[in-house]
Amino acid sequence: MSEFRLPSGGAIDRTKPLRFSFDGVDYEGFAGDTLASALIANGKHFVARSFKYHRPRGILSAGPEEPSALITLAHGEHEEPNALATTTWLRNGLTARSQNNWPSLDLDLMAINGWFAPFFAAGFYYKTFMWPGALWERLYEPLIRRAAGLGKLNAQPDERCYDSAHVFCDLLVIGAGPAGLACALAAARAGLRVLLIEQDRALGGRLLSENHVIDGAASATWLERIEAELASLPSVTILRDTTLFAAYDHGAFAALERIEDGYAQQRLWRIVAKRTVLATGAHERPIVFGGNDAPGVMLASAVETYASRFAARAGDAITVFTTTDSGWRAAQNIANSGARIVAVIDPRMDASFDRAALCDAMGAKLFSGAHIAGVRGKKRVRAIDIVDRSGSRHVLRTDIIAVSGGWNPAIGIGCHLGARPIWSDAIHSFVLPSDAAHVSPIGAAAGHFSLTNALMDGANAANLAAEALGKTNTPPVIFTADQENVSVTPLWRVKDSNSKAFVDLQNDVTDFDISLAAREGFTSVEHLKRYTTLGMGVDQGKTSNVNGFALLAEASGKDIAEAGTILARPPYAPVAIGAFAGMHRDEHFRPTRFTPSHEWAEERGAVFVDAGEWKRAQWYPIEGESDWLQSVTREASAVRSAVGICDVSTLGKIEVQGPDAGALLDFVYVNRMSNLQPGRVRYGLMLREDGFALDDGSVARFSDQHFFITTTTANAARVMQHLDFCRQVLRPDLDVSTASATEQWAQYSVAGPKSRALLQRLLPTLNISNAVFPHMSALMTQWRGIPLRLYRLSFSGELAYEIAAPAHYGDALMRALFECGAEFGVTPYGTEALGVLRIEKGHAAGNEFSGQTTAHDLGFGRLLSLKRDYIGRVMAERAALTDPMRLRLVGLRPVDPQMRLTSGAHLLPIGAAPSASVDDGYVTSVAFSPSLSHWIALALVRNGPNRLGERLRFYDPVRGGNGEVELCAPVFVDPTGERVRG
């Protein structure tokens, strides 16, 4: 067994040895160890280099407040930087390394920074690297970043799997120390649904390292009993190894669970609680004295925890330096565990108990009214300089200094919604104000440090919660415990130190930095934090803030209560971004939507494109085609010459029903819909209330009270929400209902001169002759027993229809259409050919509906009804929105027919030097026109429609496009529209 492992005691399992490696050296620990306790049991204290000065650092604490022992953990290829050795459970094969050193921890050449300490004092980078500015990015910042910092990401993807879950409860108890346990149990007995969250793997808090008597039994026995009862109650959920890291509004919280051997390694819990109790305990406070950062300087409670819970002796000769009664209790406990205490140094002159007798019992020297003025040893404490009550110095050989400077309630979570902590003279630290309503602190988190008070607080909080939630007549639960002394006399710093005294170990902030900041006027705690970096980083000042603010108060002549403290914000502890993403990353980043005939399209070899969440067939290459343009040109030509079919199921579709359906549509479209005849279809344009174009689509009327409208794929959800708003909020007087039918109808565009023949084959008994079913008609019918809808409308400019079946029959309809179309040479076409066809016809689509265009800009000015109110009506009439000099839609053709056009290119006067000041507009959509055999484009051009025939310079510096184009009408094919009516 390792040299510093105690032969007996502790909560480790000596029958389960675990191998691990640190900085390439193999060690052994036991199940139940943390990485820190295993390192200590192996005599390894020097585990880190500090942030700025690269000074050797050890393990300060035994919990989540750890500022120094930050290590990098290997997870396969990925490395997790800044993990805490003190909360990382040991497992077989764990591989960890130290960070922020080069080339090694032991020989760190960056420690040279320590020689330049004067330059690195508070605010150094605000002062030192001021000039010349150009050097900042190239030289200074990389230099500083290499020299200073915490762990680094190795840029490998994080392969860990993150789960997420939700949970609801009546009472959320954060922390399972004595107060939390008492509260959870009393609340559960009263019939509340209780969620108990503990960051440790074991319940018990301080009871895991201390021995007390509760209800007449040893505290360990009491703990077992409580745990068993909680486990037996179905209304109690216990989450261990779980850190509650954020409080949000209205009773919502978030917590992160670490899972040892799961498919997922972490789980993010989103919690909703009716009441919440903060039983997070308190963090012990270090004392600021020269050399207090050397490996071997630890919190007294940590030395105690390592000895009693983990059976790990911190050293051979332990000195306790305490200004608290709890430090004395720790000393006794350490001694009882089998470690040797050589001295207890207590700056206080007196205490309420016999300190000399305690020291005699431990075989330790007592230094009353004394303090530590210096530490000898750089990579490990070797000896200390003690100044006694008379002022004379002593040198004492010791390898561990166990420090106890007081206790700070762990109230971070209580500040997340803005409650500002207040100073308590009783405990010499900050506590939550009584109006921090979203959490009720109890026990040590409330500054009530004795065990009896903690248990009492727990039971009281449970009773209050039960009463508030209507559970009355519950028997009171009372726990009793032994009495203990909890007095503290703070010693904020040792003034006669002969070397650097650190306030914030994580950020290398010294007492000198704080007095410097105060001298330079940074006397508010928030300024102090930003100027010195006090309390920043991974630990957010859990062990440093209060000391720092006390020193600021002293340096600036303020009262500490007046100086105040900062507001902690979420997260309370670092959380990987992956935990928030959960499964939603990479290909699962968002859900994927498939159209009803997706498999059919796959069978046809479609290439798919992401359109929002949808997968849409972009084109269907056939054998011998190597280039997308080849496929797309073939598809578009097939529509112009024969017939093609395109899946348009992704269009937004909405059923509008009721006596006032027409009136609602009149209110949302610029053109009137209420006078549309049943069986007819009309194009519709919607504006936003600010007068800009929102969306367009078709409106079909099936009966007096039944309309059916379509929206663009991209705007489906937005238009539905818009209709909800218009119907529910602006026009509640209308008797009309809307129902989304996007998912219900599989819809296919059947376009081309042979489309009627194809459909006639599918529906032989239906009369769809031009006379009976002309352009812009709609009907409902049935096909093999299922409902079918047929619309005659055209986006391509050809004779065309859209045919729709309920989505679960979409695949069958698609296959039937292709069977019927075989003899007509039917061709499937994708979104690219769809785009080519609409650009040839000059139809505005998503690229033109950019949110910056008006009806006038897009050539729809004539649609604007002047007789009635509708959304956007008044604002669309503003002079600036109807100004002919605006960028308006035109067509473009290249002067050189070989020239390729690209969208996004700008249009400039010929001969002018390229500059935004002479910009005449830009290209929105381009296509290679199979009908014209050259590239064509739609563009928004200043006063465009009045400049047809003019030439402009086509300028695309990004892709190297440069040439001349001629402005033309945007309709390139069949300008008189004969084909659609054929």
Partner: protein, 86 residues
Amino acid sequence: MRIPCPHCGARDAQEFAYRGDAAPSRPDLDSGQAAFADYVYLRDNPAGHIQEYWHHTQGCRAWLIVTRDTRTHAIFSARFAGERGE
């Protein structure tokens, strides 16, 4: 953040879409451009109570008017926007 939907009960804010200040009401057609410009663009920014539109997009699809304190995020009430109160 939890929004107490009058139809569905308290739900996480992620189910909702936010629209903004519910105080301006849409002017009549003949009120003129200035009135519409106020309606479309001008918003108060009170420190304290504000009424706001929220749409329960991933729930009952009702538009709500939620009364919230901008300083504390406390929510006092939520009602169907169609039932214009006060």
